[in-house]
Subunit: 221 residues, 2 copies
């Protein structure tokens, strides 16, 4: 018997609340400084306070919200220093992953990355900003994943979340999409010839310039 029935997912209310709130924060729907009162959230999501509280504790330990006892929970504010730290940590984690991946040098991995970049280039030519961003995330996510380093991956998830949030909050200046996509090409080439030093340099610069652009005209509300 195999009817290909869809898996029934029965996530707990806590998990659903957590996902909803986190998504709202990362998408910029909930802005830094915004107060999150448990009662309101519970009413809005149609649940009781208990699962909301547990979700908020998790978001707190993820560094997305801040809680002051008996005072309230707010979406964590992002300073310019935060941005710089996020991007410097990105460089550290990703270049390390790059090193590990090149060391193992699995052809299948390289092909997977190349496919992502190809699609990114096509999306860039088509002017599809959203697709380019999604594929860019996929690329860097894949890189970390391919390192096979679980702890690295979990740390990177934290940083990647904050990157998403920053990207959602920043007033995107008219960026050259085709340029972003094509910037990944020399990186891929360095990986294919196994030049770890070159690949790390390119990747580092790639991330640093992206971070600098954002940190440069970051205005704190």
């Amino acid at each position: 018997m195999n009817l290909a029935l869809p898996q029934i997912k029965n996530l707990s209310i806590r998990e659903q609340s957590l996902d909803t709130l986190r998504e709202a924060i990362l998408s910029g729907e909930l802005k830094p400084g915004q107060a999150l009162t448990e009662t309101d959230l519970a009413r809005q999501l149609g649940v009781s306070r208990a699962p909301i509280r547990e979700a908020l504790r998790i978001l707190n330990s993820e560094g997305l919200v801040e809680t002051i006892p008996y005072h309230g929970t707010t979406v964590r504010r992002l300073t310019k220093t935060d941005i710089e730290e996020i991007y410097s940590m990105r460089i550290l984690l990703e270049t390390y992953a790059m090193e590990q991946v090149i060391e193992k040098c699995q052809p299948a991995d390289l092909q997977r990355l190349r496919e992502i970049v190809d699609r990114m280039v096509r999306a860039g030519d088509a002017g599809d900003l959203i697709a380019v961003n999604a594929l860019d995330r996929d690329f860097h996510d894949a890189l970390i994943e391919m390192s096979g380093h679980q702890l690295l991956h979990s740390m990177w998830l934290m940083v990647a979340m904050k990157v998403r949030q920053v990207m959602a909050l920043v007033n995107r200046r008219n960026t050259d999409l085709t340029l972003i996509a094509r910037k990944h090409l020399p990186l891929l080439e360095a990986m294919e010839v196994g030049d770890a030093a070159e690949a790390k340099t390119i990747l580092g610069r790639h991330i640093a310039t992206a971070g600098d652009l954002i940190a440069e005209d970051w205005v704190e509300p």
Copy 2:
């Protein structure tokens, strides 16, 4: 009026429970695989389940425990791979911190480190294992802190917790205390002359050998 009265700490029950449980895990009192039933914990700590649950959610997102829905929470098991990952991450984070610290080169920082090492050497000569360990932690903690990188610090806290747990669980072979303490001396010298490359190399080896010793004869229960 200044009676030097001790500060009255009125931490929430959740925080107290969290600290208690975390300490129990990191000290090895609660061993990997150990089941943590909310009702039992609540009864033992003399509180209700609600704050216990919130504490467990936090420990879960810190990676110290694992929760399976409707099944229970257990202390996370540590595999040999986990150990290797923990120590490789330590190297990555600490060498980066070292780079940052040397770049800024504050004499006061160096002096602070030297004081810690001096005390460590003395404790080593006195055969005080506990003091040596505490001072070793202080040293590496100070190094990270002096980098002034908050995000780095928060990530390092996660790794440092797991290091503590591993250290508590491993059957310590009769290590040469004076050797451990004195191993920090060449590191300090490299820092004082501002030789970043040398300092990073020494630090990396220092941590790697410590990790290898532990990973080597790690037996999973």
